[in-house]
Structure formats: structure tokens, C-alpha cells
Subunit: 108 residues, 2 copies
Amino acid sequence: MRNMISQTPTPPYYAVIFTSIRTEGDNGYAEMADRMVELARQQEGFLGVESARNEVGITVSYWRDLESIRRWKENSEHSFAREKGRKEWYQSFKVRIAKVESDYGFVI
Amino acid sequence: MRNMISQTPTPPYYAVIFTSIRTEGDNGYAEMADRMVELARQQEGFLGVESARNEVGITVSYWRDLESIRRWKENSEHSFAREKGRKEWYQSFKVRIAKVESDYGFVI
């Protein structure tokens, strides 16, 4: 997976900011995380994803609208992964759904 | 610096999502990054910050409103650091300003 700065369109669009602290050990996490990114990319309205982890992991996915986010949340494979996350992979997590109103920067 | 999941208030509030790719070498970056977090914490309207870096670095800071974000952007020490960032520290970066509309999760 290439992990770069997402080339998102002109705002407005939506960001899902997922911040987490992992439990010890992999327990199938890395494979599932890769699979979820692969699957997210196939969803209608998906605009990009950025991810990094040290003590805290942050994954920001970008979406065209709230409807796209809702559909992704209801995806059955994603729902199964979220359930595993709550039970096994995350000590703590927080999901924030936010409307991107403006952006700037330089991306090569 | 303790790097945890921020205990933000009930939405709405704002998130500044800063995604970057660094240039080679430290060149004073780490010290300045710590200083900027320290300084941000002192600003009125600051609600929290989360940060992680691998290939891509992601720092999400949370703010009460757009006015708090504007004042922080105009802070002179922060402006100086941003200028250094553009010239020396970042190969690419993107800043997205987003209104957090909802959140969920469990944070210990």
C-alpha cells in the first residue's frame, strides 16, 4: 500500500478521523488493516486515506458525503472488522466525522 | 509530551488535519515541533492534539472555533515555524480545516 498525502478534490467533502491505541501483539490486525484500506478504496464516494502510527495511530479517510460514510460503515466485512477491533485490537479509539471546509498546502 | 487520544468536548468543534512528508535530516525540526505543541496548548480555544508519523506524518489539532484557529495561525512564533517548514522541513504538506459534526468510541 502506498501511503501518501491524498489528492482530495476542492472542499467541501468529509473526513473520518480515526485515532486509536492498540493492544499488545498483532492478532491478525495488520492483515485486516490492509484489507480494510483495499476495501474502502472500492467504495463509492471514497476520496483517499492517510495513516500513521506511533504511540497513537491516526487514520484519516476522506469521503464525498455523509451517505458514502454511512454505506461504508454498513459494509458487512467492515462491520465484522470493527467488531474485532473493539474486542481485540484496540485498547481505546475515537472516531470523529468532520466536514472539510477548506484546505491548502503543496503536494508533489 | 504525552501523546494520547484527545478528550475533546461534545461536537461541534474544529479539527485542523495536517499531513506532511518530511525532508531528510532533522535540521531543528523535532525541537520546533515540540515547541509548537507546547505553544498551541497555551492558545485560547485549543482542545487537544494527536500526532503520529511513518512515511507520512499526521497531526490533528482540535479547536473550539474558526476564530481560535485564525489566531493560532497568526501567532508570530507559529508563523515563523511554518515558514521554516515550507522552506526546510517538508517535502509536501496539506492542511485541511474541518468541522467535527459527530464522534464516538471508547477512550480510557
